[in-house]
Amino acid sequence: MSSLKNTLIEVAYSILPITLVVVIIQIALRMSYEDFARFAGGAVLVCIGLILFFLGTKIGIVPIGKMIGEYLPQTGKLSIVILFGLLLGFSVTVAEPDVQVLAMQFSQASQGAVPKLILISAVGIGVAVYIALALLKLIKGWSIKYLIIASYVLVLLLALFTPDSYIPVALDSGGVTTGPMTVPFILALGVGVASTFGGKRDSFGFVGLASVGPILAVLLLGVLFG
């Protein structure tokens, strides 16, 4: 039950303060009662939704994600680790609520130029590939410095060739991928791989790398289809 209480506090903390600021602005703007009710109703749904979501991930998804993350390296086969790293990286990312919200707003703003499903899949593939890269980094002991610089140089290069309308959303997609679904799974996989295959025992830098992948993937989407 203490986990329920913690979840309640966590959600209240992350929603209520901004909600309060927004309500003050709405009063100052003299927004209509209907708009206010819409926002307040939305806030209630978001709170309940986040509570259920955090509880669900805590009870079911994080433990099994950790089990899989720890199990894979024990097979001792690099190819299996990478293959399932790719599959799971994709699956946890497309389930991340923030990714859904971003894709929804983009397909709305672009009037359906980029269908939601395509954008979400691109983001998922980007994270998957970069999780695989991050695993290789860990095993081979590559420096995170060069990986990050090389990736951002690649971002800059792709940005030159992609239509302008893809650039802001691509950069934004880097920030939304690392949420409560992805992070625990990636960290578990990183720690498991580090202890089986050797390499430095830190999974730091994993999340950072996982957020460059989707930027590249969405930019590439623009190059190919824009």
Binding site: I48, G56, G60, Q100, A109, I167, D172
Partner: protein, 249 residues
């Protein structure tokens, strides 16, 4: 009436969430039936977790689609139509500041930094540094939409500064810094603040919601990177001075 309108399109949302969680559920089932063979009660916890997550995401998305996005867009439009629409910049600052103080993921990251530096950077200092960084980022995002500043003018110098600072930081600080980029972007940022910037970009003539409405998250992700790298530079300078003093005595 309003309560009903909050749930319009809920079946579509449910379908979307099923599609989003489907792949993960299939993989988990694969592991259960071919490898783990977890005992019944343990696996039923996993299934329960999936069911809770399913409804959690569905309600969250519904609240965002039916409540936050329309309200945020409308607020963005109303604020940008004011004669003193520069007020969006301080409003962005306040919202950014409050958002980060409240973000649970930020507190996790602060504990991490605390471990790496064995407590030499006090938690509250880090928290307020991050909050100010993100506050500036959201304010800058608002200014960008209002005045049509290209995203590249802010991001490219920002990342160049980050890369320069990386030369003076330990690998550990670099890792934490880039890991924390995603930390600042919580559920309110992508849903509500983004809806606001899209609203502003829709209302102001000459702005395009696709071009200027997006990009705010990337600024919010840059802020903690710069904040933590700055602390990393200071920390490595301080520990050098400390080492030199120690070697003298």
């Amino acid at each position: 009436m309003i309560i009903l309108s909050l749930f319009s399109g809920f079946t579509t949302t449910l379908k979307e969430v099923a599609l989003a969680l489907g792949p993960l559920f299939i993989i988990v089932c694969f592991f259960q039936f071919f490898i783990f063979h977890l005992p019944g009660p343990k696996f039923s916890d996993v299934v329960k977790g999936f069911i809770l997550t399913f409804f959690g995401i569905a309600l969250f998305l519904q609240g965002v689609y039916a409540g936050f996005i329309p309200a945020g867009q409308k607020m963005g439009i109303m604020l940008s139509e004011l004669s003193y629409n520069w007020i969006l910049i301080p409003i962005g600052f306040v919202i950014g500041f409050v958002a980060i103080l409240a973000e649970p993921a930020v507190h996790v990251m602060i504990d991490e930094v605390d471990k790496v530096t064995s407590g030499s950077i006090p938690g509250p200092v880090l928290l307020y540094c991050m909050a100010i960084g993100v506050a500036f980022a959201v304010a800058l995002a608002m200014a960008r939409v209002l005045y049509g500043i290209p995203l590249a003018y802010i991001l490219i110098p920002g990342y160049i500064v980050a890369f320069l600072m990386m030369r003076y930081c330990s690998e550990q600080f670099i890792s934490i810094a880039f890991d924390s980029g995603g930390v600042a972007t919580g559920p309110m940022t992508v849903s509500f603040i983004m809806a606001m910037t899209i609203g502003v970009a829709t209302a102001i003539e000459g702005r395009d919601p696709v071009l200027q409405g997006f990009g705010m998250v990337s600024l919010v992700a840059l802020a903690p990177i710069l904040t933590i790298l700055t602390l990393g530079v200071i920390y490595s300078k301080l520990s050098k001075i400390y080492d030199e003093e120690n070697s003298k005595t």
